[in-house]
Point group: C2
Chain length 208, copies 2
């Protein structure tokens, strides 16, 4: 297809398409003449991925690029690629880490919380860093998370995460990474909305 059709089908403005090509995020079209290039479904797919991450997911360009780089140079096991791509989502992501385990003296709130969350909550970066920030914020607001609450959160969120990961198409590494990254970012608002809907339905019984 010509670039005009790519623009129309993706809904991404021409200037943005050109920007993504210049930035190396989208491969250039296949040259068909001195002034023309053609684009295919892979371009369309990549454009949609970029937009999902940046617009719907609110990811900055730098982290979007990191994720695209992992997709463009598949290396290591699927699990390792997923781990690196999902890590790149986090603002708290350490730049490079040989080990993926948080140092024993770091993230004291997250470390204490992990005890109550139960089985399967070893403190791993960058989620540990993210949990530490979130726990600090509730503590500063005067509503720290009680151990009993963590004992409820742990198994329920573990079950949710299990169901989510069982849906990852592991046979195709690139698709598996895309799926994991989009799922992590775009499903958070879905879960948040369902939780709020539950609150709204329960509130009148509880506090009425």
């Amino acid at each position: 297809m010509q670039i005009s059709e790519l623009v129309q089908r993706s809904g991404v403005p021409l200037a943005s398409v050109k920007f993504y090509i210049r930035e190396g995020m989208l491969p250039p079209g296949h040259t068909t003449s001195a002034t023309r290039a053609s684009y295919d479904d892979a371009h369309l797919h990549r454009l949609r991925l970029i937009r999902s991450l940046t617009t719907a997911g609110g990811l900055p360009l730098s982290r979007t690029k990191k994720i695209l780089a992992i997709l463009d140079a598949p290396e290591g096991s699927v699990a390792d690629m997923i781990r690196r791509a999902v890590a790149a989502l986090s603002a708290e992501a350490p730049d490079e880490s040989d080990t993926n385990v948080a140092p024993a003296d770091a993230y004291p709130r997250a470390r204490a919380a992990a005890e109550y969350l139960g089985e399967g909550y070893d403190l791993k970066l960058p989620a540990a860093a993210q949990l530490e920030s979130a726990l600090r914020a509730v503590e500063e607001a005067g509503i720290p998370v009680a151990p009993d609450r963590l004992r409820v959160y742990g198994p329920h969120l573990r079950a949710i995460a299990e169901a989510e990961l069982s849906g990852v198409p592991v046979a195709d590494p690139v698709r598996a990474v895309e799926f994991s990254v989009l799922g992590t970012v775009l499903y958070e608002p879905v879960l948040a909305a369902i939780r709020r809907l539950a609150h709204q339905n329960i509130a009148p019984d509880r506090a009425g």
Copy 2:
């Protein structure tokens, strides 16, 4: 205490404190002389609430004001106050709504999802509007939520919401509203971080 001590103890800059007073978000101090005013723990508490909502919670000023207005003029049942305050958190909140139930022809994705979420998921605004946006985003990204996934999410998130609401201090309406609003906003990042931690712990087994 003098305003300097209020600034120091709250960590909120003097210019911001003065701004909040001008905007009617923080009551003025008690006048002690022509040039002096004194502040008490209620001022400190209010300042911390404002900062939690705006800084940690990322809430815009307009919605923060709406919530403070509900706290400053308690009216109706505790459940009703909580409902209005939590509704004011949402970008999708309708300006005024006599009924809290989504119209039958609106939010088709949320309506379809509610079927699979199970018991206790009647479609109520504004969470229904929020769910609709979140579902549209995952659909546009090519990873729509499958019914089976919703069947997992429903009961687990309902259990989480139940535990959360059982902790609301209903005896004190103002405190109950503050608690509900802060809990809704500031616990979302906690839950998101725990889910990511679970993903990181499961991923190697699943996809390795």
